[in-house]
């Protein structure tokens, strides 16, 4: 009798634990939804006063007059992201192919941890480097060849710093994709007499195109959301940039920079939370799509 009770107690404990764990798992699934709802509730007041379209298409940002045009910030974000991807992608493709197809294991043993370190460096340190090295370099060395004046605090500086920041992410995904390509496929190409480079060019790159696109989309969403580093080098002037040497003011920087004052003006906090919501939704969509693509690739290749 006693023994039976004991067994019952054990099973009860098991079921209890199971339910707690299930609850936590569901909570983690709902977290994205909760974040979305939370941000939406906070940004509802401004959406009540202005239409979403008028907010994102207007370039007039005068919080004290109640004008909240997001266009400069959206353009700023797009500029730095575009520059970052244009710089990072070719470097990553070349380096990723080198590391996974050509590099001697000894080279990989040295380079891989260094890429890890690059991935681990905090954004604020990238920002310090950007302000110390990249900004003066752009302002004093590069810009004078092209424009009359640039302080160096520009979307180009932001793009360069951001490019270095997203490189480890892209490389690690690329090397994983290349490693997932079956050996037989390489053998098939090599055995008709193709060189290694031809095999890479015609077979490996083609086979990994969906993965490369997914990696780029992930990198874009990382770049969209990066805050502190770009905040430190972009200049933060609310204007639509017209050249790479103009200052820009990306969305996340806007949120981070104004948190102090945002409680003092009506709708200001609501506008900033809307900015966060816009970022969140775009990144959520991008991330979900590219992760699904990547998971599919992993499954399909793992024969």
């Amino acid at each position: 009798m006693n023994k039976l009770n004991h067994t019952k107690y054990r099973i009860l404990k098991d079921i209890l634990a199971r339910n707690v764990m299930l609850g936590l798992t569901i909570f983690s699934l709902l977290l994205a939804v909760i974040i979305g709802i939370g941000l939406y509730i906070k940004s509802a007041p401004i959406l009540h006063d202005h239409s979403l379209w008028s907010l994102i298409s207007s370039s007039s940002w005068r919080p004290f007059k109640g004008e909240f045009g997001f266009l400069p910030f959206i353009m700023g974000t797009l500029w730095v992201t575009l520059i970052a991807i244009v710089i990072a992608l070719p470097l990553c493709l070349l380096s990723g192919i080198y590391l996974s197809e050509y590099a001697h294991p000894f080279v990989k043993r040295i380079v891989d941890p260094m890429i890890d370190i690059l991935a681990g460096i905090p954004p604020v340190v990238y920002g310090v480097w950007g302000a110390l090295v990249v900004v003066p370099f752009i302002g004093d060395v590069v810009a004078p060849h092209f424009v009359e004046y640039s302080s160096g605090y520009s979307v180009l500086s932001g793009g360069i710093v951001l490019a270095i920041m997203i490189i480890p992410l892209i490389i690690s995904i690329l090397t994983e994709i290349f490693a997932a390509i079956p050996k037989e496929l390489r053998d098939a190409s090599l055995s008709v007499g193709a060189t290694k480079w031809q095999t890479i060019k015609f077979v490996i790159i083609r086979k990994s195109t969906p993965g490369i696109i997914a990696a780029v989309v992930l990198a874009i969403s990382r770049a969209f959301g990066e805050t502190i580093a770009v905040l430190m080098v972009c200049g933060n002037i609310s204007q639509v940039p017209h050249s790479v040497f103009d200052s820009g003011y990306p969305l996340p920087a806007l949120i981070a920079n104004n948190y102090g004052e945002m409680m003092s003006l009506p709708l200001y906090d609501s506008a900033l939370m809307l900015a966060a919501l816009i970022l969140f939704v775009i990144i959520l969509i991008f991330n979900t799509i590219s992760r699904i693509v990547l998971v599919r690739i992993e499954r399909r290749f793992a024969l």
Binding site: P182, E184, S191, V192, R206
Partner: protein
Amino acid sequence: MKTMKYPTEENYYDEVLTIVNDKNKKTMPSSNSNAPHISVRNLNVYIQRNHILKNINLDIPNKSITCIIGPSGCGKTTLLKTFNRLLERSNEIKITGEVLVDGENIHDPHIDITHIRKKMGLLSQRPCPLPMSIYDNIAYGPKIHGTRNRKQLDAIVEKYLNAAGLWDEVKDRLHAPANRLSIGQQQRLCLARGLAVEPEVILGDEATSALDPISSKKIEELFVQLKEEYSIALVTHTLRQAQRIADYIVFMYLGEVVEAGPAAEVFNNPKEKLTREYLSGYFS
């Protein structure tokens, strides 16, 4: 008749064209038809310090089917991969001894490795179509080696899809992705792809083991047809297949060649006790 041992790239394709234009002509450039096509002399292969192939001496005869049999793990596949030097892509491989193809040592450091691989069409265990259309799969090799002319490529694609018995099945959808084909069709496509670079030798690594019986019968029939023009070396661990199609048998055990000779002789009257035991199913 034109016989050339090592065609250069330029006249090689002229020759392909004449072959394409004149199907009755003897197709393959090759050496004296009685000499062994591949000769292996004192070959030793170590992978991560494990002695995988031990002092292999072996001839793959010209224009016939040689089946390499033996229990799994005996080094059959490793041996096959040393023939077209696909093995050394992995780390920590050490190879000593010689593999002579047409009297030329393929491990000679001065040799162009792609030239060696072009001579050998590989058919792997699992069909592995390249991520492109049916047409491009066949045209891939010739394009790599410099054929750009569309008409030439069309002719090559048709010729080798025919040779693999696939033309009638796919001629209406040449530009569909190759991975839409059934697995048996894919394997014949891979065979056609290998043939399209005009190899002299076909290497098959358990090429029918992933296929259904009907598809593997088709592949076997193709091999029998193809031995008129090519030397064929097949790794197989289905004894029945070897009995059906082999002209010569090589029996390997634990990295060594135990017995080699004409198929009838090895099957009916094996010299070694080990061979006898393997053939009668004592171990597999």
